[in-house]
Symmetry: none
Subunit: 210 residues, 4 copies
């Protein structure tokens, strides 16, 4: 069991991550953090060296939490297409029920940090690169196992996935309407079937039309 200080620190981080994902990692004021975390300002700086440090760690926690959701979704899925579909499934309902409201923290940090907060930008880049690598790896492994159509560029496929999902998340946030993301996910599912999944080898097969 963690010490009392550790639990306090954890609580601050959790609340800060939730707060900052909605109000902006760089925009959220320390006063808001104080209010949200139920600790006093003096105590805050005992646990975190500076505002920037807190922002960094809160962002790290936020990224970790959303990633955990996807790693869990991949559990037990072996086929690449199944894995990709599982990722998409994990997003359904993520608009409201998710433990971290406010949309994708990586995108939030990326947009917010543009040209003004280089250190946050660097963190966002790293996180995004990690996510991109995760999808790329799925595709790559799929290619090796012949579960995906050959001649695919894993990086490019990951790029399409991320772009479409992030755009959908943004629209869902903006309109507070999950169907925006839903449409993007539906598109990606079709994309998997039409562009990624190997063409059914049987030349006689004649059933793949909508």
């Amino acid at each position: 069991m963690p010490g009392k200080g550790e639990r306090t620190r954890s609580r601050i981080l959790q609340r800060s991550a939730a707060l900052m994902n909605r109000h902006g990692f760089s925009s959220a004021s320390m006063a808001a953090v104080v209010e949200a975390s139920g600790i006093q300002k003096g105590g805050l700086y005992r646990h975190f060296e500076s505002r920037e440090a807190l922002v960094g760690q809160a962002f790290g926690l936020a990224v970790t939490q959303v990633r955990a959701r996807f790693v869990a979704a991949l559990e037990g899925k072996l086929d690449a297409c199944e894995q990709l579909l599982a990722l998409l499934d994990a997003y359904e309902g993520a608009g409201t029920e998710v433990p971290l409201p406010g949309g994708c923290p990586i995108m939030n940090a990326a947009i917010e940090s543009d040209h003004a907060h280089p250190e946050l930008r660097e963190l966002a880049r790293s996180a995004m690169t990690g996510w991109h690598a995760m999808i790329s790896a799925i595709v790559e492994r799929g290619l090796r196992r012949r579960e995906l159509r050959s001649a695919l560029d894993p990086a490019e496929v990951a790029n399409v996935f991320i772009a479409c999902i992030e755009g959908g998340v943004m629209l869902t946030q903006l309109y507070n309407d999950e169907r925006r993301l839903g449409a993007a996910l539906r598109h990606l599912r079709v994309y998997i079937d039409r562009e990624l999944r190997p063409v059914p080898a049987s030349p006689s097969a004649k059933e793949k039309e909508s």
Copy 2:
């Protein structure tokens, strides 16, 4: 010729739009606006009632400018597929050469305003709805003219376009690498050919022409 005040006002708006699209519409300080616009603080408040008013108008100008780029691209294109492709073409090279750096102002405002700046959020919503309506209208007209595959939902197609493009723009901004958006655009071109364009009249069929 516009009056002196009007020209000054226009210059302030232009510079503010460029500044705010990079530093954030709500985050950019009035001091930064002063520095960027070459006017003093005292003069600023003669032209704009408040910071919020300036933000709103600068955002409006930013949206107008990016939209102008697309309406220009549609000039002379009659076919729906051509129009959609022209929109995508208009994005190529838009990462750096565009007169308004900092990515898509609508997405920037949408992300930034999340849960904290309701008036800006409303503006972003309106602008996004306008853009969505523009693409929907293209698809709708294409459907009526049989230039697009029937049974398409214009709103959903527009949603996919926007999501994919915005996600791509965000990635390009984050990595400062145009190829990110390029991959998304390539994907959408394939999407047009494979999913929107009417099925090429199978050698035997010969009746789908406008």
Copy 3:
């Protein structure tokens, strides 16, 4: 008859003097001058080069006006004591009926300009010196004509007069009560009789008690 511009200028000065004597020569804002004088800001700077110039001339007019009151009071008085008493009489009722409310402009300018407005201070000094010289001259002439007790220092007598009057004016302004100045004037009248007027030569005369 003066030209139209000259009359406008005169009206501005008159109103400014009245305004500034109450609100402070250096504190009164140009906006207040505009409102009081019924002219627009653009027109003001046609008549006066700068705020400072207007202040100087308004102060000059104020001083001229109060001095006129005293020169008029001296008309026809030949004896030094009579003249001094006439000066005091001129102050009775000056608290409210005077065309220039707000107390003595010289004192107002002197207090206000202390250590902050050297040019106004210089004007105040000049005006005060002029007033002091006027009283000194009366005493001096009185000494030459044996109308005053010998061995008096004219400068010192003038100093006492001015100090007592100005203090009384200040008290009357502060309490909005003319009796404050009245008490000071009464004191000076006694002072004239007991200290300035030559001792009645007749040794038998024994009736000079209050």
Copy 4:
């Protein structure tokens, strides 16, 4: 020992009183206070709710400090005439060596506040009334003890004292010449001897001439 905040507050007040007595209680800018007090604006408003509050308290301190000088001068003096003379003595040399340059704060506030700053005017009135009461009380006690000529009006005597002193202080400030106040004080000493001190009872004595 007072807390740190209390000491800072006291330092601000002290410096502000000195500054404002020279530059005007209402004219002195907060920027000047900041510079004089060695604290930043952010810290200033922690100690004083508003500019007006600071002005009021600085004026209060200024009045307290000058009054302290006079109550100290009265120490040990029992006779009314002695007390009045001690007050006058306390003014000698007060032009330059005093810890609060800039003349009498009450008069400064009275002149400055005329018709424009009602709250400061009220403070000045209160302070002036306090001073007037102090001198009136001396005279009144002197009357009861037969130390002063009967048939004197204490309020009127106090009025003469104050008027003459304030006028003298003003002249000394204007010309930066202590002899101006000196002449007024000399006059008041003579006034005490000739008008206030009981007539020497001996009828044969016939040498009361200077």
